[in-house]
């Protein structure tokens, strides 16, 4: 079974480049503006969209993404509204993959089965749930796979060769390599090490490997794109949202502020040719 995620990575590979995966927080700074931001992402150069499901206690996120979640929740965002946002996006774009990213509790409280059914109907393609390691696969990963959604797992510098097969076992769509130990938006990775780490993961899987954490602009995106099948950017985009706000509210400049950063980073990603020699 192929999914939108599989097809998109295949298409990007055929173009001889890495994919750009963009993360924004659903409902940030408010549900309406957020939908406009998401709608503008593909045109600005995003190949895949990660949509953050806001949560009060994002334990693996740095201050920027924490603040984005706080803004979204303050604007009344919920998991139900996040699914509505995906539905609205999907009505106009049937090709760009959407991956929901967040923490397990809102999904658990929604009810795993109804969540998976509603997510699939809305047009969600994959899930990244930070606090569900392979040890908890029965909770959501296996039911998600059975429901036809991709379950994308994070691999980290602490995931050694012994552990990698367990991490990859039920992973589909792509592998998200977290390039540093730490929270989102913090450290800058050692690019040489990242290339080596991607190569190590690729020895264990045929899935595309996207790399996140530490992508701030065209240059850093270019550096990551050299060694990976995909580049993930998040903190830089939610910071663009924040900087565009006036007294905490969206302005006419908000959507374009995010698009501008995406265009810049997309240009960096596209400078790297991966055409087979």
């Amino acid at each position: 079974m192929t999914t939108r995620i599989d097809r998109r990575f295949e298409a990007v590979r055929a173009e001889g480049r890495a994919a750009l995966v963009t993360f924004v927080m659903a409902g940030d700074p408010d549900p309406e503006t957020s939908l406009d931001i998401v709608r503008a992402l593909p045109k600005a150069g995003a190949d895949l969209i990660e949509l953050g499901m806001p949560f009060t206690d994002p334990m693996a996120d740095g201050p920027a993404i924490q603040a984005a979640g706080v803004r979204a929740l303050a604007a009344g965002m919920s998991l139900r509204k996040t699914l509505a946002l995906v539905r609205a996006f999907r009505a106009e774009d049937d090709a760009t993959p959407i991956i929901l990213m967040g923490y397990f509790n809102p999904i658990y409280v929604y009810g795993v089965d109804s969540f998976l059914a509603d997510a699939r109907t809305a047009g969600v393609d994959g899930l990244i749930v930070v606090d569900l390691p392979p040890e908890e696969d029965h909770e959501l990963c296996k039911p998600a796979l059975a429901a036809g959604l991709n379950f994308i797992r994070l691999a980290t510098p602490t995931t050694d060769d012994k552990r990698l097969p367990a991490v990859l076992a039920n992973t589909s769509g792509f592998v998200y390599y977290v390039s540093v130990t730490g929270i989102t938006g913090a450290a800058i990775p050692d690019y040489g090490k990242v290339t080596g780490a991607v190569a190590r993961i690729k020895r264990h899987t045929d899935l595309p490997v996207a790399v996140g954490f530490g992508v701030k602009n065209a240059e850093t995106a270019e550096a990551i794109a050299r060694g990976a099948d995909g580049v993930v950017v998040g903190t830089a985009l939610v910071e663009a949202v924040r900087l565009s706000l006036s007294e905490g509210r969206a302005t006419p400049a908000t959507v374009e502020a995010v698009s501008a950063v995406v265009r810049d980073i997309a240009a960096g990603v596209r400078r790297v040719s991966k055409k087979a020699a």
Binding site: P63, F104, N105, P106, Y108, L132, E136, T158, T181, I183
Partner: protein, 405 residues
């Protein structure tokens, strides 16, 4: 999964860290290898007599154990019912039960070669205990504490500074214990190589709930022996306050299979359960996943964690240890709650009747003990866990009572 022995309540967790449906290991992949290593190291230490011997030495000569089991004669007279005994863990070095657990974890950190210790703290008792043992063993110590708690538990902040720890006020979220725990987890995920996370209560990802419980069980083991020696039989009831619930599980666990022993856990009802401003996860919450485990949580219909409220910073947490969630669901322990007001009254009552100033946390247990004892016959033997002393709370209490009258 192993089948838990149906004849015993003391065999949990299973090898995946579950007490029934509660517990588990809900953490980011970065932390997973660390948690597995910790589990291995703890299992090895548990099987090593040298570890227990070392622990015993420090418990006796540094912590000051065993703590007395004291017959509270005037409190008993006041209630006119059950014979009330206080398990006096407030007499431990650093003034609370927290040190029992910290000692175990710090000795384990030393075995694992970890030099940097991080901790979260609410009331500051766990922070002080961690800072104390880090000073004793020459380890770097960083304590995360909600900015609100830094303000209301100043004496403990000073003590931590004095002991050489770095106290980081946490400004995110509700700026209390849960946010301090988030920040500690963020630190751990960043500093994986050299850092040991010393969790202060019997919650978090496996193996913490079981490990912290094991270290706290010294309370219940002593209480059992002391009661047998004093009265020639087991107590009829136990009562302890519950935030995360480490003092309570430490007292309860060695008695769980003694069917004649009635067990009560007291949550913080804050301004009252119906007001929604409380920290009673079992009474007013439902199962969810936070901080590495599935347990009862305070949250809204969207699964967003809500802010607990309690006059006591140590109980002001929207969750509870997973073993308590299980004991609640199977009905072995009865969980009740006490309001801020009831705790304040008990704080004064115990101070005046027994010359013992309790912390606001166990004041919740004392409040309910007084009610329950009054309804019991005079030959009923009750143990109240007095898990902390009230020095840190005198300013908070004075504020609520409108001065030092």
């Amino acid at each position: 999964m192993t089948i838990q022995n149906p004849n015993s309540f003391r065999t949990g967790p299973d090898e995946t860290g579950h007490f029934g449906m509660f517990g588990g290991r809900f953490v980011a992949e970065t932390l997973m290898p660390l948690i597995l290593k910790l589990e291995q190291a703890y299992e090895a230490a548990k099987a090593d007599p040298a570890f227990h011997k070392e622990m015993g030495e420090y418990l006796t000569h540094y912590v000051g154990r065993p703590s007395p089991l004291y017959f509270a004669e005037r409190l008993t007279e006041h209630c006119g019912g059950a014979k009330i005994y206080l398990k006096r863990d407030e007499l431990n070095h650093t003034g609370a039960h927290k040190v029992n657990n910290v000692l175990g974890q710090i000795l384990l950190a030393r075995r694992m070669g970890k030099k940097r210790i991080i901790a979260e703290t609410g009331a500051g008792q766990h922070g002080v205990a961690t800072a104390t043992l880090c000073a004793r063993f020459g380890l770097e110590c960083i304590v995360y504490m909600g900015a609100v708690d830094v303000e209301r538990q100043k004496p403990n902040v000073f003590r931590m500074h004095m002991l050489g720890a770095k106290v980081v006020p946490v400004q995110s979220g509700s700026r209390t214990l849960k946010d301090a725990m988030n920040e500690a987890l963020r630190d751990w995920v960043t500093n994986v190589a050299d850092t040991f996370y010393c969790i202060g209560t019997a919650a978090g990802p496996h193996p913490y709930p079981a490990m912290v419980r094991d270290f706290q069980c010294v309370i219940g083991r002593e209480a059992r022996e002391q009661m047998l020696e004093r009265e020639g039989r087991l107590p009829d009831s136990l009562i302890a306050c519950i935030g995360g619930g480490s003092n309570a599980i430490g007292l309860f666990h060695p008695f769980l299979d003694d069917k004649s022993v009635e067990i009560f856990g007291v949550e913080a009802a804050g301004h009252g359960i119906p007001t929604g401003e409380h920290a009673a996860s079992l009474t007013g919450g439902r199962p969810g996943v936070l901080h590495g485990n599935r347990t009862y949580l305070l949250m809204n219909e969207d699964g967003q964690i809500t802010e607990g409220h309690s006059i006591s910073a140590g109980l002001d947490y929207p969750g509870i240890g997973p073993e308590h969630s299980w004991l609640h669901d199977i009905g072995r322990v009865t969980y009740i709650s006490a309001t801020d007001k009831e705790a304040l009254a008990a704080f004064q009552l115990l101070s005046k009747l027994e010359g013992i100033i309790p912390a606001l946390e166990p004041s919740h247990a004392v409040a309910k003990a007084v009610e329950i004892a009054a309804a019991k016959p005079k030959d009923h033997l009750m143990i109240v866990n007095l898990c902390g002393r009230g020095d840190k709370d005198i300013f908070t209490v004075a504020d609520h009572l409108g001065g030092m009258s």
